[in-house]
Amino acid sequence: MEKRYIYSLFVENKPGVLSRISGLLTRRGFNIESISAAETEKAGISLLMVEFFADEAMAEQIKKQLDKQVDVYEIKELRAPEAVTREHIMVKVKAEPDERMSLISVAGIFRANVIDVSPHSMIVELTGEASKLKAFIEALKAYGIIQVARTGAIGMIRQGEPHLEKEY
């Protein structure tokens, strides 16, 4: 049975790493749901998040294939309750002046922020777990969604420190 996985990877921060990692996943026939990368507080090290749907055996294989990459220091699966995960979305929704108040109150229920108001639309942003974002998008559908931008999932394990020893 397929389920959602998020892997967090500490990698060497250098050109080509993201391309190498995403290429590896594509080549082996794994479908990536989202991938994000940014530098960390540690010099020369980036943190990469990969989100995908897979069955257990496939997820294990993905983990092993990623783990043996020269650029990968550490790979961990992020799953509740040991880990917390979040995603950030921005949604541009149709909103004529008479619909604005209604939309603002929906956003309020989800603790989303309105970050732009244009003559015929508004942009709202929300950070949360995948299930909350899904419910939010459902609620906005009634107004007419023009565009959604998502960051992809990020997260971290509640306790402990990453183990960043270099193998090569």
């Binding site: 590896l24 080549r27 294989q61 020269v70 090569y168």
Partner: protein, 557 residues
């Protein structure tokens, strides 16, 4: 001391113990070759006819010696010509270090003349690749490249060095190379304990070993372990030489063209020990039906190979030689000979299948060559029917004496690989078994063997067709021999002579014997073209998708 980037490359190669480089000069590696000129007393260079040949030569050198093979090529086409060679080495886990030049940093990314992103191109076909833009980074990059290529599960590494970095000067300090230790960082006591009890409980164990036996120099440990646990040994094609072919309990290969004895052994075993093999579909047949009745113990240095294709009952992750050594000491000595005697009976009952078709049946051809060679002779093959016949019939007794492209199945691999093998083993005889199709792919490289005065014997097993594809067309495509009938009327005697070597053309066993005797006395490379029947098959065969033990022993013509 202050040196140019190119000189630092040479210093680092020497530091790593390299004495031979294969390659081909070009615009962006003139600096590299200029430094090579200066270091020519310590670094030998073999110029190939084509960069692909140089890449295969570096590969053949590495496979036959165990030391990393090194290849130089220029940017653009020089670099892309390495691609097939690197992919071949990658699929078979061979330590090759490729060093390419690239355009000056000012021109990088401008589609300059002969500019190609070989660093990016080689992502999927190397263990790792580097691009070096500054001479200050050259020394450490080359050192890392050699370490990565050889460490754990070996593989090819590419280092692309910009022209400005080769020419630029910087401080160089010699360094003792980091020692390559057996990779046992994931070896766990619990795994060893569980493996030990599995083996002790087993009454009918079988060992199936692959290329990992060769890579970790575990062949002696393998035989000792097999004797200790009372198991027969089957090998994948990549494992050939890992257990001597004359070991009484050696059952031959397993899989698509494996023996009946191996398939019987696996069908009847209660424990299958997979040792340094990646269980390709050429071995397992339909993976879902592979040895489902038996417990499987998988030993591999690469954790990603465990459970990749075949779910294992238990596994041990570590260097094969280390693991086999530990297990041999821990497990009980088996005294019951019933299972092994059964293997011997099967071996009597099912001798190798060999179709006796045509004036020169392949079996007899290979045996006629074999009887003139010693067990140190390095046997190289190309890809196709001749490759499997050689793997099936030639008794390979020592590791690193059977060189063949297994994973990628690269037609045209052989000539370059034979040159590399000969360069790495100047005292040994090298024989290349090739097909007419394979040989014609890279026969240009014969001139390299001539120039190097190498006594390579090239046996062209010539059936005038692309035999392996024809065999599949015969079996599964209604005998539609679409584009597989070559029947090129090449005069191989003239071909060999035109390149400066010697050629023989034989049509009967008698002619073959005479020509072989003469070839053995000939200095320099020899092409022996043996015309065989176009409809000899590689048997037994497990047709694709079949269960591993559903073999066929005959294909009706």
């Amino acid at each position: 001391m202050i040196k140019t980037g190119a000189q630092i490359v040479m210093e680092c190669l020497i530091e790593q113990g390299v004495d031979t480089v294969f390659g081909y000069p070009g615009g962006t590696v003139i600096d590299l070759y200029d430094a090579l000129y200066e270091y020519s007393d310590r670094l030998d260079h073999v110029i190939s006819a084509h960069e692909q040949g140089a890449a295969h030569a570096a590969d053949g050198y590495a496979r036959s010696t165990g030391k990393p093979g090194v290849v130089f090529a220029t940017s653009g086409p020089g670099a892309t010509n390495l691609v097939t060679g690197l992919a071949t080495a990658y699929m078979d886990s061979v330590p090759v270090v490729a060093i390419t030049g690239n355009v000056n940093i000012n021109n990088l990314g401008t589609d300059a003349f002969q500019e190609i992103d070989i660093y990016g191109v080689t992502f999927p076909i190397t263990k790792y690749s580097f691009i070096v833009k500054d001479q200050k980074d050259i020394a450490d990059t080359i050192r890392r490249a050699f370490y990565i290529a050889q460490e754990g599960r070996p593989g090819p590494v590419l280092v692309d060095i910009l022209k400005n970095a080769q020419a630029g000067k910087t401080e160089f300090e010699p360094k003792v190379p980091r020692e390559i230790m057996p990779k046992n960082n994931r070896l766990k006591v619990d795994d060893i304990e569980e493996a030990t009890s599995m083996i002790n409980e087993s009454k009918k164990p079988v060992i199936f070993a692959g290329g990992g036996v060769i890579a970790s120099n575990a062949s002696e440990a393998l035989v000792r372990f097999a004797d200790r646990i009372g198991a027969p040994v089957s090998l994948s094609m990549m494992g050939l030489g890992g257990c001597p072919a004359d070991y009484p309990y050696f059952t031959g290969m397993l899989g698509m063209h494996g023996t009946k004895v191996s398939s019987n052994a696996v069908t009847n075993c209660d424990l299958l020990i997979v040792a340094g093999a990646r269980m390709s579909e050429r071995v397992t047949g339909n993976a879902k039906t592979f040895a489902t009745h038996a417990k499987i113990l998988h030993i591999d240095v690469d954790p990603a190979e465990i459970n990749k294709v075949i779910p294992s009952t238990k596994s041990v992750t570590g260097d094969l030689k280390t693991v086999l050594g530990i297990l041999e000491k821990k497990v009980e000595q088996k005294t019951d000979e019933t299972w092994r005697n059964q293997i011997l009976e099967w071996k009597k009952e099912y001798p190798p299948v060999a179709e006796n078709i045509g004036e020169i049946p392949p079996y007899r051809l290979i045996k006629a060559v074999e009887k003139r060679m010693d067990e140190d002779t390095v046997i190289v093959t190309d890809v196709g029917q001749h490759q499997i016949w050689t793997a099936q019939y030639y008794s390979i007794k020592k590791p690193r004496t059977f060189i063949s492209s297994g994973g990628l199945g690269t037609m045209g691999f052989g000539m370059g690989a034979a040159i590399g093998a000969q360069k790495g083993n100047p005292g040994k005889k090298v024989v290349l078994f090739t097909g007419d199709g394979s040989f014609q792919m890279n026969c240009n490289e014969f001139v390299t063997a001539v120039m190097q005065k190498m006594n390579i014997l090239v046996v062209v097993v010539n059936n005038g067709v692309l035999g392996m594809v024809r065999q599949w067309q015969k079996l599964m495509y209604n005998r539609h021999y679409s584009q597989t009938t070559l029947e090129r009327k090449i005069d191989y005697v003239k071909f060999a002579e035109a390149f400066g070597g010697r050629g023989f053309n034989v049509n009967t066993m008698e002619e073959l014997e005479t020509a072989l005797d003469e070839a053995m006395q000939t200095e320099g490379p020899v092409i022996l073209n043996a015309n065989i029947d176009m409809d000899v098959n590689v048997l037994p065969m497990v047709p694709p998708g079949n269960k591993y033990n559903q073999q066929i022993f005959k294909i009706e013509v």
